[in-house]
Amino acid sequence: MRKVYLDNAATTPLLPEVFEAMVPYLKDMYGNPQSLHSWGDDAREAVEEARGKVAALLGADSDEIIFTGSGTESNNFAVKGLAMAQQSKGKHIVASAIEHFSVLHSIRSLEKQGFELTEVPVDKHGLVDPEEVARSIRDDTVLVSIMTANTEVGTIQPIGDISRVVKKSGAIFHTDAVAAVGTIPVDVGELGVDALSLAGNQFYGPKGVGALWIKKGVRIIPFLEGGVQEGGRRAGTENVPAIVGLGRAAELAGAEMKSRIEHLSSIRDKLIEGLPSRIEHSFLTGHPTQRLPGNASFCIEFIEGESMLMLLGHQGIAAASGSACTSRALKASHVLLAMGIPHEVAHGSLLFSLGVTNSMEDIEYVLEILPPIVDRLRSMSPLYAKYSKERNRGN
């Protein structure tokens, strides 16, 4: 059976070049970077080289990069650490309604400590309006957190415009760029932010490693406390192989960014055009043009996401959905709902996230396999039956 992985938003495969870069640090070069001997030296140099590569991808300075264990950790660290460092100035936070839960739940836990959150809404394309951000900012706003791009619907936010608004207020501006870094050009200077989260497994690097970029001079309270690693800002033995892998992935992403974007956009556009034209009552979610090059997210009406995924999986296709049934919490994607998509339609969400290993043939395969699956599920669906009857009556 043909196997087609179209769930790169969940995690990308590790590129062979990245794996090769990691191997020495999984074998002989196993030292702890804090150790004062040659094994330690090798490990420390490798970590610093990787730091340089990650910094280069972001147009940042090496000493502004703090390695973490995941995108989630970067976001917890940023939100909690920046808010706590500023709390004498105020306890109000602004974030978009479609932030990842690692941002939103971090803010929720700050609320228990007296912080307040204003959620900025998004439009039907998932876009944040900088004017809305401006309106949400108060005198006691100390932190604004708006993601660079949304994984589920692909929408890319106008971070540069938002940062101009935030700067006027003196609040710290953090952006969760986990879905963006390594995929689209991200330059911290151009974005004008103060802190930025990224994760390795979103751009063909390893799982278990992320980074927080934090502008020189911006104060943050450590989240993981203990040893003096990462300049005392993130304790714990450095995950050397993963950090090396992240560095290599950053280097490759920088070098190949243009060609990757070209390739991904072209196969994505084939899917974005082909799917709604082959399947009635389906539509693209997220912004039509301001979107991640690999993201093709849809809603297919009258049927539910999990059953689509199961039938796709049966034919070798891996995808994702924001339906309630596919979530542990049995809640439809807060992102789709925030965009004004009704619950019953959100349950029919289907996300294909494309990666560098995908080809045009993969897309053609999806376009061949999916319509009969939709037909089959619709033939079982009481909602579709009702709709058909009403349509026939209407005729």
Partner: protein, 138 residues
């Protein structure tokens, strides 16, 4: 895939008795599309026995498999026997369900019962109205 048993997978991949019965003797609908799953059961009754059962289901793999097995279990049973198809019987018959999918077996048993209620009401029996599942999203 969700952690489904082989039996669930079989009923999901090859659901039995999908469809509608035009001249059904009873119809039961449970669930809510807002919550992500909804089932409609159709029954034909002959001599106090469910001579035919069909369903349509909007929902996850478990919801479809539950509908299918409930229909299969119900066909040929007397009304009284069919009333004994409880959620736990359904889950057991399917070789278990993941914890967060239990509510699907509730829906299936409930939709069948509602169809029987409907039939009995049409027969002139007094049937207590059941509480419909609330939509907790609104």
């Amino acid at each position: 895939m969700p952690a489904y048993s082989e039996k669930v997978m079989d009923h999901f991949m090859n659901p039995r008795n999908v469809g509608e019965i035009e001249d059904a003797d009873g119809i039961g609908e449970e669930g809510n599309p807002v919550c992500g799953d909804m089932m409609t059961f159709y029954i034909k009754v002959n001599d106090n026995r469910l001579s035919d059962v069909k369903f349509k289901t909007f929902g996850c793999g478990a919801a479809i498999a539950v509908s299918s097995i409930v229909s299969e279990m119900a066909i040929g049973k007397t009304i009284e026997e069919a009333r004994k198809i409880t959620p736990s019987v359904v889950a057991k018959e399917l070789g278990g369900l993941p914890k967060n999918k239990y509510h699907c077996s509730n829906l299936g048993a409930q939709a069948l019962n509602l169809a029987i209620d409907d039939y009995q009401r049409k027969q002139g029996m007094k049937v207590k109205p059941r509480k419909r599942r609330k939509n907790d999203h609104e």
